[in-house]
Amino acid sequence: MRFQADTVIGAILVVLVTTLFIMTIGLPSAPYGTMGPALFPRVLLIALFPLCAALFGKGLIHDLRSRPEPLRPFAEWFHDYQNVLAVYVLFFLFALALPWAGYMVSGFAFLLLAQLALGPKGWGKVPQFLAVTIGVLAALYFIFRVILLVLLPEGEIGLM
């Protein structure tokens, strides 16, 4: 039997809410005269539980009553979401590299690679991608570092 998204999400949320509620048991009790750190989260989690359970139940009833939709071929799915995956991976790598490579290097890599991944294929557009990358980096560096005096990460390389 295959479950639709609402059923799966509802189940995950029920588990999450329950887990978080159990975590609040470990919080220290309230100092005199205050509510304590556990009360407000518990109120929220108690309100959330029935809603998440309702989402799970609604999805489950729908799954039991209806025929499952055919699965999409992986190639078709990947074609639709390859750009999204590429951007997320590149941004993840950008954030990971930032403390080490610094703002300029990691930013240069992100901007260039994102355009290469999303833009038209072929070497003809590479000069445009480079121009945009350098222009955006220069503009942001000028605005934030020179005018606004915001310290941007230099990284281990120390290239700024």
Binding site: T34, P37, V87, G119, V150
Partner: protein, 547 residues
């Protein structure tokens, strides 16, 4: 006396240097407001050091420009890119972006800008006329009233969730829960940090807002192989002109919407610590509820833009009321302005207006003038933004994402904010794909801390929970919250018998807090009660009586 002070103030403000400073401040504010993550407060903070060498009036005038420009700048990226530049422009994207996508970006921007202008002017007039009495009312709010107001604002989540109130409720409560992550504001005890040091500080709501909105919108723009190579707006930028007269006609055809929204903005702005992030959504919701075609909201109609933008610029005027009249900032940006005045040995207080009339009215005049400067700069600079929107989506996606990352990093100079942006970007995209509304979660994250702090303060002051129902203003907001929760069901099930009692019951319920209020407010209670009973009478009167 007022006219004499206004005359002196006009003479003081309309000096070349002061006017140029207002231009510079307004321009900076528009740019700051348009950049997701930059925020008006940050622009005002960065302006502060430049004011040390100015007179108090020049410094205040510059900050007025940043303030006004920032509130209107958020609509640009919100309308063209679907990414609100500031939290006070969240509701503008609901209709501004769809309208732009329908090939009417010029009208969408025009309606937004002129709504900001008129809303701001209404706020400026009310600022001058009603600063003292409005500020006194706002001072009566204790933590019970603040908590009840927040609950009321959060029940609007139900109204904004469209067809899926269940998912909207889950998103809103999850937003509140996210706000509890990290150190508790009262006890300092860390919650839900999973042993990770970085989580002890919790999530900043700006990286969360931008992650949920910006990432989600940009990713939906680039999904699908060739979609990323199309222009964001597939129209000739030169042909997209700000439709000033069309916008003004549209706005003037809805005077009730405009004035109500501006008044909501002024009222919310006058409340200490409340601001544009609440007023634009509250106003949008009220406009939707009052509309004859609420189902059209969110599809790209001007009504929603008018409601949001008139409110957020009206908020600017309201926020200044409590600052000038009582020395209590109504907004983070206004708190910085207060600091600027203190540096110049000027102390806003109840006697401020009497002791420094030219300065106070000069601030009013600068605030008023900044709106005209805003209109002029928006009209001149708009083509630049339209040309930006003509770029291919893959260029915009990569550069805007990078700009957002830089903007959120600049808030606190920590890479944790960039990670917050990333993870909430993933969550926001998944929420969009699985039909979970984003706005309730955003609202929950923004208001979560405020709700818990005020609940705690109410408990610490007096542990009696009945105070939420016996204090008139708190009870008023509680009743409004209940009405707001039931209202969507009333709209959906109009054919059922119980819905006929909803409006009369609401009127009678609203009369109760007025009844328990002192003085002339009891008359308002009487009026609401009579209205409700009259509605009930009309329901039950014999058919022959109506013939």
């Amino acid at each position: 006396m007022v006219l004499e002070n206004l005359g002196l103030a006009f003479a003081a403000v309309f000096q070349i240097k002061t006017v140029l400073l207002i231009f510079a401040g307004t321009f900076a504010g528009i740019v700051a407001g348009a950049i997701p993550g930059f925020t008006i407060a940050m622009a005002v903070i960065l302006t502060l050091p430049f004011t040390f060498g100015m007179t108090p009036l020049q410094g205040s005038a510059t900050m007025m420009g940043v303030f006004v420009g920032g509130y209107s700048g958020g609509l640009i990226s919100g309308t063209l890119l679907g990414i609100p530049g500031t939290p006070s422009s969240v509701a503008t994207t609901f209709d501004g972006f769809p309208m732009a996508r329908q090939g009417k970006p010029g009208l969408a921007l025009g309606v937004g800008i002129w709504s900001s202008f008129f809303g701001g002017l209404i706020g400026a007039v009310l600022l001058v006329l009603f600063a003292p009495p409005i500020a006194l009312f706002g001072l009566k709010f204790g933590p019970w009233e603040f908590f009840s107001l927040i609950i009321f604002a959060l029940t609007i989540i139900a109204s904004l969730s469209g067809d899926s109130m269940l998912k909207g409720g889950i998103a809103g409560l999850m937003g509140l829960l996210i706000a509890t992550i990290g150190d508790d504001d009262i006890t300092g005890i860390s919650r839900f940090d999973f042993g990770i040091d970085a989580l002890k500080q919790g999530f900043g709501f700006l990286p969360v807002l931008i992650g949920l909105f910006a990432f989600a919108q940009l990713m939906t723009d680039v999904e699908g192989g060739e979609k990323a190579q199309a222009s964001l707006l597939d129209v000739d930028a030169e042909a997209v002109k700000l439709e000033h007269w069309g916008a003004i006609r549209t706005i003037w055809s809805q005077p009730v919407n405009l004035i109500r929204s501006a008044l909501i903005g002024v009222f919310v702005g006058a409340l200490p610590a409340a601001g544009g992030s609440i007023s634009n959504i509250l106003s949008y919701d009220q406009a939707k509820k009052a509309s004859k075609h609420p189902e059209k909201y969110g599809t790209g109609i001007p009504d929603g833009i008018i409601a949001a933008e008139a409110a957020n610029n009206g908020t600017a005027g309201g926020a200044l009321i409590t600052m000038i009249a009582l020395g209590i900032p109504g907004d983070i940006s206004v708190a910085v302005m207060l600091g600027a005045l203190l540096i110049h040995n000027v102390v806003p207080s109840p006697t401020f207006i009497a002791e420094e009339p030219v300065l106070v009215y000069g601030i009013f005049v600068a605030f008023f003038l900044a709106h005209f400067v805003m209109i002029l700069l928006q009209a001149i600079g708009m083509r630049v933004f339209l040309k930006v929107a003509h770029l291919p989506k893959y260029v915009l996606a990569s550069t805007v994402l990078f700009f957002c990352a830089t903007g959120v990093f600049a808030l606190h100079n920590i890479t944790f904010d960039i990670w917050t942006l990333f993870w909430f970007g993933v969550l926001g995209y998944l929420m969009k794909k699985f039909s979970f509304p984003l706005a309730p979660m955003i609202l929950g994250v923004i208001l979560g801390d405020l709700a818990e702090v005020n609940l705690n303060r109410s408990y610490m002051t007096d542990a009696n929970p009945l105070l939420f129902f016996t204090r008139p203003i708190s009870l008023f907001f509680v009743i409004l919250a209940l009405i707001s929760l039931v209202f969507p069901f009333w709209q959906r099930f109009r054919e059922q018998a119980w819905t006929a009692f909803f409006l009369p019951a609401s009127a009678v319920a609203i009369s109760i807090p007025f009844w328990i209020s002192p003085g002339v407010l009891k008359l308002a209670g009487l009026a609401f009660a009579v209205l409700g009973l009259f509605m009930l009478y009309r329901l039950f009167r014999p058919a022959s009586a109506s013939a």
